[in-house]
């Protein structure tokens, strides 16, 4: 009989771990993924990485990370650039600000959820064109070479071009 697929809560192999018997107080910042199974109090900063709070983890902190996965308990505001996941039996008391959120049935959450639209990154050349278009330049502007734009932002380029010519 085949075993039904179930997404396991375990993170990809974390590079840094705060173990079950470890308690940290203060500011924690990391440039690699972090797995917290102990206690953390203060602030946690991983703007480019994922933090996973394990089933034994107790975090009383403001968390700012790329991705936050909660299996244990968190008290504090959570801000994630990409995603917040609150797994079954996890507890979060605090406000969430993120682009995407997953709440499993059985999770306990008390707080505000603010979904923020992910920022559309504009290629640097278009930004430069926008800057020159908005500047009160009397100097004739050479048309910019056509940047390699993703289809989603192509209309922005079209509206910029006539202004450059003027």
């Amino acid at each position: 009989m085949s075993t039904p697929y179930r997404a396991e809560p375990e993170p990809r192999v974390p590079a840094a771990t705060i173990g079950k018997s470890v308690a940290v107080s203060g500011h924690v910042s990391s440039r690699e993924d972090l797995f917290v199974d102990g206690e953390v109090e203060g602030t946690v900063e991983l703007p480019d990485n994922r933090i996973t709070i394990g089933v034994n983890g107790k975090v009383k902190a403001t968390i700012h990370a790329k991705e936050v996965i909660i299996l244990g308990s968190v008290q504090g505001n959570v801000e994630a650039v990409e995603k917040v996941e609150i797994r079954k039996d996890a507890r979060l008391m605090g406000d969430i600000r993120t682009a995407r959120i997953v709440i499993e049935d059985g999770a306990v959450f008390k707080g505000n959820i603010d979904i923020v639209r992910p920022e559309v990154k504009t290629p640097p050349k278009v930004q430069a064109a926008a800057a020159s278009a908005s500047a009160p330049a009397a100097v004739p502007v050479t048309p910019m070479p056509q940047p390699q734009l993703a289809p989603a932002i192509a209309p922005a380029q079209q509206t910029l071009s006539p202004e450059i010519k003027r």
């Binding site: 609150i86 997953v102 709440i103 049935d105 959450f109 008390k110 707080g111 505000n112 959820i113």
Partner: protein
Amino acid sequence: MLKDTLRSWFGHSGEAAAAAPALSIAAPAPKALPAPYLRTSHALEQFFQDLSGRDSLRILDLSGASQANLNFLMQYGHQLYCEDFVSTMETVFGKGPDFYENQANEARMEEFLEQTFASLHGPFDGALVWDTLQFLQPPLLDHAVGHLNRLMEPQSLIYSFFCSNDKLPALPVNSYRLETNKSIRVIPRGELPMSQIQTNRGIERTFSDFNSVKFFLTREHLREVLVRR
């Protein structure tokens, strides 16, 4: 002799048989919860009709966090605040027969109000209160409604309902998941002791500080109301 008797009762060895009745007494089978079901609500439909055309509204949901309600409200661009009202009640007052007696305890009352309302940052443009208020007894009920009144924007709406079936042995505790703007998936999650059933007059009195209370007829022994702040 004892072994033989036990074997005749349970059909296996004496030791195992001796353990069997003890186990069955210690851990009675948990009462199976009814299956989730779908119900239609005209009050809910009117609640969302009132919100339509506006986005970025702040909605309070007292049924606890759920992906379904989150997805439903986010598609309209609303901001959601989650609070599991009944779960906090069960934590503070217990689930036993003294559930309502404990609500008269001043310290517990304070603790409940603190845990529930201290972190709520209004004002809210709408509140899905569901049936949570029916588990509260005065004066705690009045305090809770007073807090809701304080947290709501003027002219905002509260959607709530109360069980009207006094024949029930206990009040069912459910989770509510929004399926459409007028249908709710009801997920049974337990029960609490029966309390005095709220009459229409009682509900009006409960919300006497609000602008208006509109009643809706249902076929499910419920008194549904839309309360305007």
